[in-house]
């Protein structure tokens, strides 16, 4: 078992790494927002207030495609449903109360959830993972959005730098330790199959949401066998 000092430094370093990786994508969100017809202020407000990448790209994408404000908003919120599901799991891991719940809620995103789960065996570690990742991504995502919006498309395509491969690789790396468990591997595999099978036929965002059904089925099937003893009831 590594010492807490070493582990703490590792968590903070990884959190900053995740922040830089997603921040780089924030550059493209800023550029795409302005290109999609939003002002710089509207683009930045989206990153500060909404702060959930998939929803933001969907909002701008639908608006840019002429989809209208209502369908843009509905799509964005539908994609945000994922964060509510993350919160269900995080609430018992983080034990947030009062103001911390209100502030922490805004930081409930893919990246902070994945980092929390990667460190769920230890209470200090998972709290640090959640807050450091959430704050690092929040700061870098918003700075990058502003820079991207100001620079417009002059920055070039993030795909040139392979960032569209870096993002899923980061999620996979964060999920990796969980996949040591055989049942978790089944859950992940079934989720992948469902999401990819639905991608050609369902609206954007639905395939990932639909994978939640796998978790429900796994919960009903395995019950307490899925519950990690050390990771529960910190609240």
């Amino acid at each position: 078992m590594i010492g807490w000092q070493t582990r703490r430094a590792g968590i903070v370093r990884d959190a900053l790494g995740v922040g830089v990786a997603t921040g780089a994508y924030g550059l493209s969100f800023g550029a795409i927002g302005v290109a999609g017809g939003l002002t710089v202020a509207q683009t930045c407000a989206t990153s500060v207030l909404m702060f959930t990448g998939a929803s933001q790209f969907a909002l701008v994408g639908v608006l840019a495609a002429g989809g209208g404000a209502i369908s843009a908003g509905v799509t964005a919120v539908l994609l945000g449903t994922r964060n509510a599901l993350y919160g269900l799991r995080l609430s018992s891991l983080l034990g947030l109360t009062g103001l911390r719940t209100a502030v922490g809620a805004q930081l409930v995103i893919d990246e902070s959830t994945a980092m929390t789960l990667a460190h769920e065996d230890d209470e200090r570690a998972r709290r640090l993972a959640f807050w450091s990742t959430g704050l690092a991504v929040f700061v870098l995502w918003n700075v990058a959005t502003l820079v991207g919006a100001l620079a417009g498309t002059a920055l070039g395509d993030p795909e040139t730098f392979g960032l569209d491969a870096a993002v899923p690789a980061a999620f996979l790396a964060l999920l990796w330790p969980r996949l040591r468990d055989r049942r978790a591997r089944w859950v992940a595999a079934a989720a992948v199959v469902i999401a990819l099978a639905l991608t050609p036929v369902a609206p954007t965002g639905v395939p990932v949401m639909a994978a939640a059904a796998v978790a429900l089925a796994a919960g009903l099937h395995w019950r307490d066998a899925l519950l990690p003893g050390a990771a529960r009831g910190s609240a």
Binding site: A84, L88, V108, A169, P207
Partner: protein
């Protein structure tokens, strides 16, 4: 209209985040509910990884992203640290694009 869409959907997204964190623990007291909540992020993150690797709007596309993520898997199997995994994935995809593949 754009401001209305931005603010309304931001409120909606925040409400969803808060809702998830605020569901009383008594709701989670049943074994199958807790087990499902444990499995949920695994399922959603796996699905997200897959869709981001080969999805392009409503199409499935094999391109440099898949090669990049595959290189990342190799790095993971070699027990590389997180940032190395991400770097290897990005560099692989970027390299393939630079030489005109994917």
């Amino acid at each position: 209209m754009i401001w209305a869409a931005v603010i309304a959907s931001a409120v909606g997204c925040y409400a969803l985040k808060l809702l998830g964190l605020s569901v009383p623990s008594s709701v989670l007291d049943r074994d199958w509910v807790r087990a499902s909540a444990v499995a949920l992020p695994v399922a959603l993150l796996a699905a997200l990884t897959a869709v981001q690797t080969v999805g392009d709007a409503q199409r499935l596309v094999v391109d440099a992203r898949l090669a990049g993520v595959a290189a990342g898997v190799v790095a993971l199997l070699l027990r590389a640290p997180f940032l190395v995994v991400v770097g290897v994935a990005a560099a692989t995809a970027a390299l393939l694009r630079a030489v005109g593949a994917g």
